[in-house]
């Protein structure tokens, strides 16, 4: 038996060696970023980027959070962090709820022209941002929300609606329409059925939508740069400003720390909710 197992075991070892090598290869940039963020500037300039920090400390992290400069403002990325939070919470909440409501109405109620609306939404999901940017700037400045918090929130909701609506429509059209009929006979109307029957059924898909929207909107750079305005710049825009500031010495350790700080929230969301994410995606797929 061991004679048979030996070649198989060698094969296994080779497989794991290959996987470990691949993992290290892809992890190297991240490891370098982390180790650089823990070094002092002198250490960075004197040694190779692959040498681990001799005396790791969080000074660069502290500076990135509180005191890094973008142009003349030296408040650190925490300003951008809170801007991003202010943009994120209403954008995610409203776009997910609007998507759920749209999907519910389009799949379970007889909306005249529902198929045309769906087709339009599908097209909307595929239109590249670049095409709409200039018209959207004109529209938002005409109605007076360009370069403001409501402006960037409205733009995020608009861009999210097609995908959110399709996601929820697919989920709801897997439900038996007798459910809505039963609730109508029970006397519930459009909103009561949505709140009491449909939303409780949609927990998994709501979580999936929230994850998609949170990471998407947090990672957005282009829309934030154009529509948020100077006062509401999200963290990504501020990070770029910090990294490209060209006055004086380039503080690699602070830049790395700022990058990591910016990346943390979506990572956190994935770690906490990965379980729900997989469950929600499959629940939608097999008409759970």
């Amino acid at each position: 038996m061991s004679a048979v197992a030996a070649p198989a075991r060698i094969g296994r070892l080779g497989l794991y060696a290959f996987l470990a090598a691949t993992a290290i290869f892809f992890a190297i940039p991240l490891l370098v970023v982390i180790s650089t963020s823990l070094k002092s500037l002198n250490e960075i300039s004197d040694f190779s980027i692959f040498v681990p920090p001799s005396s790791p400390d969080l000074a660069a992290w502290w500076k990135a959070w509180h005191a890094a400069c973008t142009g003349l403002n030296c408040g650190g990325v925490h300003v951008g962090f809170w801007n991003s939070v202010r943009i994120l919470i209403p954008s995610v909440t409203l776009s997910v709820l609007a998507g759920a409501l749209n999907g519910y109405a389009l799949s379970l109620w007889r909306v005249p022209g529902a198929n045309l609306i769906l087709l339009a939404l599908l097209l909307g999901a595929f239109i590249p941002y670049q095409v709409i940017l200039y018209p959207l700037v004109k529209i938002t400045s005409t109605i007076g929300i360009y370069s403001s918090l409501p402006g960037i929130i409205a733009v995020h909701i608009l861009f999210s609606l097609p995908v959110m609506t399709l996601l929820f429509r697919n989920f709801y059209s897997g439900l038996p329409d007798e459910l809505v009929k039963a609730a109508r006979v029970d006397g519930a109307g459009f909103w009561r059925i949505f709140v009491s029957v449909m939303l409780p059924l949609s927990i998994n898909i709501l979580i999936v939508a929230t994850i998609l929207q949170t990471t998407g909107i947090w990672n957005d750079y282009l829309l934030g740069l154009i529509f948020a305005g100077r006062e509401n710049q999200p963290m990504t825009v501020q990070l770029n400003a910090i990294a490209t500031t060209s006055t004086g010495e380039i503080e690699y350790n602070v830049n790395m720390a700022a990058a990591l700080l910016t990346a943390l929230p979506p990572l956190f969301v994935y770690f906490v909710s990965g379980r729900f994410f997989v469950r929600g995606i499959t629940a939608g797929a097999v008409k759970g």
Binding site: A182, V185, R192
Partner: protein, 360 residues
């Protein structure tokens, strides 16, 4: 108690006519069954009565009130669905009480009615479970319970037993009959199962292609079917249809194969044409061995095979160029072969016009 009156109900999906000018009166306390093959419009008619679908033309009256423009919840109806349609995230108790809570019925009244229903249907032990934790039969009971707590004037049931296995279906059939009698409720019930229809109904509407072919009591439907379709659809081993022609000797006769079968006493609806084509319909139980001496005309046929069904046996015979079946007692059918003489109970035949398919 309220009746239901449907007048000129019409509905089409694009070019497809789902309902063609349906007229129907369900008396208070009736158990009316809409029977027909799938796609005949029976569920569409039920949904139209419930107000769940928009209708093209016509009106629906419940309890003497025209409810055509009203929402389902304002029509005084309760409904049981084929898929049960229980709310998956609610416990049985909340499923039962949802409609009452929507209507803001006082809490003590809700509790009283839920207790009454769970006693009546013996689902008291299930009240705190979710639908996913129930068996098919239990879900069925909860779905019926959810309709009963409404204390509606009219109950609409859409193929409620079709997802149950045969044994459970027979049990629930008895239970439904008991409920109908004890509640004295008006029920409209959709099914494609003619046994369900025959056992439960006080009146049956047989539907085809969006029309009601016949609306009558089970007895009349079985004994005097109004059309060829009804005659063929109702009855578990189907009626024999023998094409032939009509003739007039000293009395009306049907000429089938080489025989002239006398039709004395057949209640013709209208005078018939000599030599006109006819379809002669007779149920297997009205064909018997001639030596039993029941009178009536006798035909000669060749035994083909027999189908034992327990209580009785279905015998199949070659009669000229046609096949005919007879319901026989198992004793006299055993070991049957060769030529036989069959007697036809002429008082029980149905004659149809082959072109209009109407009863003559």
């Amino acid at each position: 108690m309220s009746g239901v009156v449907v007048r000129g109900l019409t509905k089409s999906y694009g070019p497809v006519h789902a309902l063609r000018a349906i007229d129907m009166v369900v008396e208070p306390g009736d158990f009316a069954v809409l029977l027909g093959p799938s796609g005949c419009g029976k569920s569409t008619l039920l949904n139209a009565i419930a107000g769940l679908d928009d209708i093209g033309a016509g009106s629906v009256e419940i309890g003497g009130v025209d409810v055509t423009p009203r929402e389902p919840s304002e029509r005084g109806i309760a409904m049981v669905f084929q898929s049960y349609a229980l709310y998956p995230t609610m416990t049985v108790r909340r499923n039962l009480s949802f409609g009452l809570r929507v209507r803001s019925v006082p809490k003590t009244e809700i509790e009283r009615r839920v207790a009454w229903v769970s006693e009546l249907l013996q689902i008291g032990g299930l009240l705190d479970r979710k639908p996913s934790q129930l068996s098919g039969g239990q879900r069925q009971r909860v779905a019926i319970g959810r309709a009963l707590v409404q204390q509606a004037k009219v109950f609409l049931l859409d193929e409620p037993l079709s997802n149950l296995d045969a044994k459970l279906r027979a049990e629930m059939r008895v239970e439904l009959k008991r409920l109908h009698q004890s509640l004295a409720a008006t029920i409209i019930y959709v099914t494609h199962d003619q046994i369900e229809a025959m056992t439960l109904a006080t009146r049956i509407a047989v539907m085809r292609d969006g029309r009601i072919e016949q609306y009558a009591t089970p007895d009349v439907l079985y004994e005097r079917p109004a059309t060829l379709f009804v005659a063929g659809f109702v009855g578990s081993s189907g009626m024999n249809f023998l094409p032939g022609s009509l003739g007039r000797a000293s009395m009306p006769v049907a000429r089938i194969e080489a025989d002239a079968i006398p039709l004395d006493g057949y209640p013709f609806r209208a005078p018939f044409a000599d030599g006109g084509k006819v379809i002669f319909g007779i149920r297997p139980e009205h064909v018997s061995f001639a030596d039993h001496e029941r009178g009536g005309p006798i035909i000669e046929a060749e035994t083909l095979f027999i189908e034992p069904m327990g209580a009785d046996t279905l015998g199949w015979f070659q009669y000229g160029s046609q096949r005919i079946s007879a319901r026989l007692s198992p004793q006299c059918a055993r070991g049957l072969s060769g030529k036989v003489r069959l007697a036809l109970d002429i008082g029980q035949v149905s004659l149809f016009d082959p072109t209009t398919e109407q009863r003559l």
